[in-house]
């Protein structure tokens, strides 16, 4: 694989008021790579993920996706925040899957999936529907086009949410604890879909507590603590032979 960097975070800081939540994060993710972010609750994983598609502003540092700085325009030594419209345009190529699915409850499964492509990318409705049906088949939900989200199980809803993200043909998908809100018996079906995506070469950054998934699917695992990445490397190293005390403590609690 050629090392073609897709995401580059450089010295990312984020404060909410006086509280510094991210304290200088550096991370490079190659195209086609799957990186899992582990860490205790409150360590800043979600915040970092939300910075990558500019749902949060940065206090310092920069994040590139592709050749563009996310959310800002650099002019000399200054970064000017983009307008809402420009930021929205950047987000088209960055998918996101949420812990609580966040499907649009007033729309059917099909409408959920085609909304972005039709409204934002101006894809023809017929074409978007055809693509949506393909994606539904891919996540194992063929024929559920006309169900409403509330009629589906959590695992099915999350798979629809994944199809919704894929419909925008993103170059990167961010997953924020996609299985944490699911009943244990439904976790597997969502992870299976994600494994399939990873194999297909999609670039993924996955916040998860599923160590098994990280071990099997991730190219690299990053462990976050207190707003910093304290350890990063191949899963066998980070999970099998952790160096940092915090990683050791965390893993001993999870297993």
């Amino acid at each position: 694989m050629t090392t073609n960097v897709l995401v580059r975070a450089e010295n990312v800081h984020k404060s909410f008021g006086l509280i510094e939540v991210l304290k200088g994060i550096n991370l490079e993710v190659n195209s086609g790579e799957v990186v899992c972010l582990l860490g205790a609750s409150g360590s800043g994983k979600s915040t970092f993920l939300r910075c990558i598609n500019h749902l949060e502003t940065l206090s310092n540092g920069r994040i590139w996706v592709g050749d563009k700085v996310v959310g800002y325009r650099q002019d000399g030594d200054r970064l000017y925040e983009l307008s809402d419209k420009e930021a929205a345009k950047q987000r088209r190529s960055i998918g996101m899957v949420f812990q609580r699915f966040n499907l649009f409850p007033h729309m059917t499964v099909l409408e959920n999936i085609i909304e972005g492509p039709v409204l934002v990318n101006r894809v023809k409705t017929a074409e978007a529907k055809r693509h949506a049906s393909e994606l539904l088949a891919r996540v194992g939900l063929e024929g559920r086009e006309h169900s409403y989200p509330r009629q589906l199980s959590g695992g099915q809803q999350q798979r629809v949410a994944i199809a919704r993200a894929l419909a925008m043909k993103p170059e990167l998908i961010l997953f924020d604890e996609p299985t944490s809100a699911l009943d244990p018996e439904l976790v597997g079906e969502v992870l299976d879909v994600m494994k399939d995506l990873a194999k297909s070469g999609l670039t993924m950054i996955v916040v998860t507590h599923e160590i098994g998934f990280a071990k099997e699917v991730a190219d690299r695992v990053a462990f976050m603590h207190g707003g910093e990445i304290v350890e990063i490397g191949p899963p066998a190293e980070v999970l099998g032979n952790p160096q940092h005390d915090r990683t050791k403590a965390f893993l001993s609690r999870v297993f």
Partner: protein, 305 residues
Amino acid sequence: MNTQTEPNVTGAASVDLKIVPRRHIGRWVGAAAVVLLLVWLGVSFSRAKIDWPTVQEYLTVPVLIQGIGVALLLTAVAMALGLILGVVSAVMRLSKNPVVSGVAWLYIWVFRGTPVYLQLLMWFNLALIFPVIGIPGLYSGRMIDVLTPFVAASIGLGLNQGAYTSEVVRGGILSVDEGQTEAAQAVGMTRLQAMRRIVLPQAMRVIIPPVGNEVIGMLKTTSLASAIGVSEILSEAQHIYYVNNRIMELLIVCAVWYLGAVSVLSIGQFYLERYFAKGSSSRQLPLTPFQRLKSIFGTNRKALS
């Protein structure tokens, strides 16, 4: 009923027992009492000094039908204006820009804080302080020509309504989970697109019932417009009874027309609510009146109770 004393549950369960739903005796007794009361009321009114033929005669008088038409038209125009202003000012109030939200706050403060009657009078008399109206170079005219009673009433009632609707809409928007906006933004929508396509349709479920009430309230409030010379039904009725002195008869005619109009509006509201409830739950769509009647008096087990 199973009268067996032995705890042989499996044996009893295999028998197909007919399930008899609860009989609603109280409802039948209550309904009978109400019917009696209505009959009594009906009898007393028919014996009162009301000339029913006059009522019947005036029920179809063109000026009165026109009058209720004007009331309905004014309701529609003022409500449309109120809804637009309400949605816009609610979105403005939720803006992060303090100037934008401040302007919306000021609008609500002024128009909710003064009586609508006073506001109507002010709009109607605007010509006293601004005799001419116009856009420099494009148009100019006399204020009294532009601000006819109907226009003044539409603006006055609409602006007042907007201030109230704004708060209703704001509550509706706030009732929608923040995650919905984020999910919409994550597929590349702007905040405004997310508001229009994702948040507002869901907020509608919360917004429609109170706005429906306000439409009905507005229909009745239009009678205030008679104060500035709008020929709606009540003022037309007054013109008639000043002459023929059939006061109660004409008021009853008005009441009948208002009730009829409100009933039609309520039906509209009902189906609108049903429409916006879609997706909220697969089973709990409100029942149509026919389904409801069946459930109240019938022994249908799937019904409400």
